[in-house]
Amino acid sequence: MSNDRLDLPQGTLDLLILKSLSLGAQHGWAISERLHQVSRATLQIPQGSLYPALHRLERQGWIRAEWGASENNRRARFYELTRTGRKQLETETAAWDKLTSAVALVLRMA
């Protein structure tokens, strides 16, 4: 394992899940694969920790789940964004952008 892999900052997993669902409904494994690929394997996300987060987001009403057939025709649980979830993604993305640019600014200037 390479040393340049990062642990996920607290609370950002939700944002990443919402983002990866913004392209359409997906099941848990696909989300995990996607995060792994898109981050070019730099983000250290234990696969299991995905599920508590998914269920929490479902409870909050930001995503909803439905059983459907997977690519290889097996029963899988698909998650998709709800309207409030989409809004939540927007506000959280904006907040994240603001935060990172502010932190970056401070790091450059100070």
């Binding site: 995990s32 696969q47 920790s49 599920y51 508590p52 987060a53 059983w67 097996r74 029963r75």
Partner: protein
């Protein structure tokens, strides 16, 4: 918000389905991951392993997912409950010990709560806005002492109604024992004369018919109508609806039944539920024609309901002003009265419950103490259970460590352990309710005057209280052991195994044990004090024999007997009574101890002034067999004889206290005195008899003097005669026989009552009896609990020290050494408990002393007895573990683990 709720509800009710779905979802993930690795060329087994590793701990993730679903609380609780239940089932001995211990503690408290609540907190049934309902008490200074008076004249009640502004309702109420029914059916029952306004204080409709109306309750005489009490309606009339319009003989008059009070309705009395409610003016006019015109007859309570906008202080000020005005009105009738300002006449709005008014009885105080004692028993029980749980937590260390290692969070584990103690407490609570139901019956019979004291199981307040203390018990017993259990290093616990390297004494367990033994000592000392005090009460010589005495009272009704007729009736009663088999002797009397006494003021003695300053004098008159019948000892001179008749020389017999007070150091025999007025002839003292008690069991000796009844009648006229009858055996056995034989003598509607003397004195001894019974019961309970605690701690210590003991025995320690070591430990605990407990008892003693009957709280004998008792218990409790310790086989002990 809504989706959240739906989600939680689904999670709660659809638990098994959600659980299945979660399994499916996670399995799907693992399968895909495995496939991925297989596609990359790994063999199936390797791929599967890798998938599991990257996924993380399955059970932990499932737990977390369940947590994030929200209903975690209830769902996990159910699961924990099942787990705890299985745990208890696997160790029934432990479970039963704990449940019984808690059951006794909770039961004691629940039963006591029922009584304390009744006496001190619960307002009368059906009373609306009880916070605003007050009992009125007047205060004034009389004879240099401030008096609180809760009893009023009807005229005063009228003044209060007219002169106060801060009340929206005001009522007069009292209760009397009166004959109800006619002829042989007549029975003395509690009857409540109340004003019509009293019913407006309650928000319950009559069970049948109506209450009486204000125009049926007015001066000079109210209408002869009656409202039946629910219980009486059920028992006498079988709850039939056709009682309305029937007539009923109550006291001297006949009333028409117009309604039946609702179930549980007693008005504002704290005595037995009244059989009948009468308009107070109808009752009063049958007794006294001028009851509403003067203030001489003070006989009923006044209750008033404060207007919502008036404070208690304002209400009391209002009452005080009205009382002062009323006092002045009384002074216009009786100019000899001092002014209202001079006696500082005030009135107060007190809580409606009598035991919270100014006249707090010894009963209420003793009950409060016993409640405190019950609470201590509960604490001791909790300490005991906490100790057992601690022992268990320590022996479960390895199991707990294992679960921690498997990824169960400490919080979950804490929850689980607390659930277990909650389950134990709940089972204890159920056992406690059963105990309270069963034991409470006896308690209430001892303590509450109300016959309809409701059962524990059906009483909401008592059940709520039981639930509350059950919860508190769960926390109290569970918290320490639970925290203790999950603390500590996982790896360490797993490595050390069952036996810890060396024996470590748990400081927490030791202090719990000390606490237990100390409080058992306190309770046992209390028990000792109350038992001695009760023995003192029982041993108290009243100046007459209690057990073989019956007092008989003839109650004329509906007839006007002339003096001659009344006296002839009295003579006949004595004759018939004495002719009854088993009756030793009988005598007429005019006073009955603890029931009715005739005061004639202080006697006049030549050369002695102001004898009234010595105290109260009570006059008794009796037939020739008076002293013989009562068993009163004659100390000097003679008693009353047949020769003392109306025309013979006037004689008098006095008691020792009176002789010593009037003629200290002199011989009273042959001295002269007269009573009533100074125109009456002098009487010669012919006898001195032993002291006697007829007003109070405690306090200064009472002054009694005795006249031959014939001389009394000749000088003071008619009498309302009582008779004393001495039986051979127990008075109770003769009461019914006497009543049946004497009843035919009674003219018209008159009737006769026969009551054992003991029943007049017993209520006065009740608080001592109750205190002794309860302290002994609870003290014994605490002692048993302490013994269990000691046993479990020592037994556990022995089990833990098996290794060490093995070494010692291998090194040559003898049997006696081992026993001495183990037993010494137990005895040391007990000794420390005795020391601490004695200090607490000495300190708390000063508050208990007023409740004891001529018993000093610092009674070394009691302290000694308790110390010995606890040490013996400690010896017995530790002997078994000690013997087990001696059987430790060094080879086995050293090789084990």
């Amino acid at each position: 918000m809504l989706s959240d709720l739906r989600f939680r509800l689904r999670a709660l009710f659809d638990r098994s389905r959600m659980e299945r779905e979660l399994d499916d979802e996670l399995r799907f993930h693992l399968e895909r991951e495995t496939e991925k690795h297989m596609r990359a060329g790994l063999p199936h087994a390797e791929a599967e392993r890798l998938a599991q590793v990257t996924f993380g701990g399955m059970s932990r993730i499932k737990d977390d997912t369940r947590d994030s679903r929200g209903v975690i609380g209830i769902e996990v609780f159910q699961q924990d409950l099942r787990y705890a239940w299985r745990g208890l089932r696997s160790r029934p001995g432990f479970a039963i010990a704990v449940v019984l211990t808690l059951g006794l503690g909770i039961g004691a408290n629940t039963a006591m709560f029922g009584i304390v609540d009744r006496l001190l907190f619960r307002p009368p049934a059906h009373l609306s806005t009880p916070d605003r309902v007050h009992r009125v008490f007047a205060r004034y200074v009389w004879d240099g002492k401030e008096r609180a008076e809760g009893s009023f004249a009807y005229t005063r009640f009228l003044d209060f109604s007219r002169l106060t502004r801060s009340f929206d309702r005001i009522a007069a109420a009292t209760t009397r024992r009166l004959p109800v029914g006619s002829g042989a059916e007549a029975r003395e029952m509690n009857v409540a004369p109340v004003s019509a306004t009293l019913f407006d204080f309650f928000d319950a409709r009559p069970a049948l018919g109506r209450y009486f109306a204000p125009d049926e309750d007015r001066t000079p005489a109210g209408a002869p109508v009656a409202v039946l009490g629910y219980g009486f309606w059920q028992s006498r009339y079988g709850g039939r609806a056709d009682v309305l319009g029937k007539s009923l003989h109550v006291g001297d008059a006949v009333y028409t039944i117009v309604g039946v009070a609702p179930e549980g309705f007693v008005g504002v009395t704290e005595e037995a539920a009244p059989a009948v409610f009468l308009p107070i003016t109808a009752f009063a006019s049958s007794r006294n024609r001028t009851y509403f015109q003067n203030y001489s007859w003070t006989w009923h309570d006044v209750v008033a309901r404060r207007k919502p906008d008036a404070s208690v202080a304002e209400a009391s000020r209002d009452l005080s002003a009205a009382f002062a005005q009323s006092w002045e009105l009384e002074r216009q009738l009786e100019p000899s009265l001092p002014s209202a300002a001079k006696v500082n006449a005030r009135a107060e709005a007190m809580p409606v419950l009598q035991s919270r008014g100014p006249e707090v009885g010894r009963d209420a105080k003793v009950v409060t103490w016993v409640m405190g004692v019950a609470f201590i028993v509960l604490l001791v029980a909790c300490a005991n259970v906490a100790n057992l749980l601690l022992a268990r937590a320590v022996s479960r260390r390895r199991e707990i460590a294992l679960r921690l290692a498997l990824g169960v969070t400490r919080r979950r584990l804490l929850q689980q352990l607390l659930t277990e103690s909650l389950l134990l407490a709940a089972l204890g609570g159920i056992a406690g309710l059963a105990a309270a139901q069963w034991g409470g019956q006896a308690l209430r019979a001892l303590f509450l005057r109300t016959e309809d004291a409701s059962a524990v199981m059906t009483d909401g307040r008592t059940l709520a209280f039981a639930a509350l203390i059950t919860l508190a018990v769960a926390l109290l017993t569970g918290l320490a052991p639970a925290i203790h259990g999950i603390r500590g290093d996982v790896a360490d616990s797993l490595k050390s195994g069952r036996r810890e390297g060396t024996y470590r004494r748990s400081r927490l367990r030791s202090s719990l044990l000390l606490f237990q033994s100390a409080f058992s000592v306190v309770l046992l000392i209390g028990a000792g004090l109350f038992v001695r005090s009760l023995a003192n009460v029982r041993a108290l010589r009243l100046g007459y024999d209690l057990e073989p005495l019956v007092y008989v009272e003839a109650k004329p009704r509906g007839v006007n007997l002339s003096v001659a007729q009344a006296n002839a009736l009295a003579e006949r009663i004595i004759e018939v009574a004495e002719a009854t088999p088993g009756i030793r002797s009988a005598s007429l009397a005019i006073s009955v101890p603890f029931y009715s006494s005739e005061g004639r003021g202080a006697p006049f003695v030549p050369g002695r002034d102001s004898l009234h300053k010595l105290g109260r004098f009570t006059l008794q008159a009796g037939s020739a067999k008076y002293f013989q019948t009562l068993g009163t000892r004659i100390m000097r001179g003679r008693g009353i004889s047949d020769a003392d008749h109306a025309t013979s020389a006037p004689v008098i017999v006095i008691n020792e206290a009176m002789a010593n007070a009037i003629w200290p150091g002199e011989d009273a025999l042959g001295k002269q005195m007269r009573i009533g007025s100074d125109t009456n002839p002098y009487m010669t003292v012919v006898g001195v008899v032993e002291n006697m008690r007829g007003r109070q069991l405690t306090g200064d000796a009472e002054f009694w003097y005795y006249l031959p009844i014939k001389q009394y009648l000749a000088r003071f006229g008619s009498l309302y005669p009582y008779a004393f009858v001495r039986v051979s055996g127990r008075a109770e056995d003769y009461v019914e026989t006497l009543r049946r034989r004497l009843q035919p003598l009674m003219p018209g509607e008159s009737y006769v009552s026969a009551v054992p003397m003991r029943s007049l004195v017993s209520p006065r001894q009740r608080s001592w009896e109750f205190g002794a019974t309860m302290f002994v019961a609870f003290g014994a309970l605490a002692l048993v609990l302490a013994a269990i605690g000691l046993y479990s701690v020592i037994a556990y210590a022995v089990a833990q020290r098996t290794h060490e003991l093995g070494v010692r025995i291998a090194l040559g320690a003898g049997l006696a050494d081992v026993i001495r070591m183990i037993v010494g430990q137990g005895v040391a605990f007990a000794a420390a408990g005795v020391a601490i407990g004695s200090v607490i008892a000495l300190w708390a003693g000063k508050w208990v002393e007023p409740l004891l009957f001529s018993q000093k709280v610092r009674d070394p004998l009691i302290y000694l007895a308790v110390a010995v008792a606890l040490l013996i218990v400690a010896l017995v409790a530790t002997l078994r573990p000690a013997l087990r310790a001696t059987r430790v086989d060094p080879t086995v002990a050293l090789r084990a683990d």
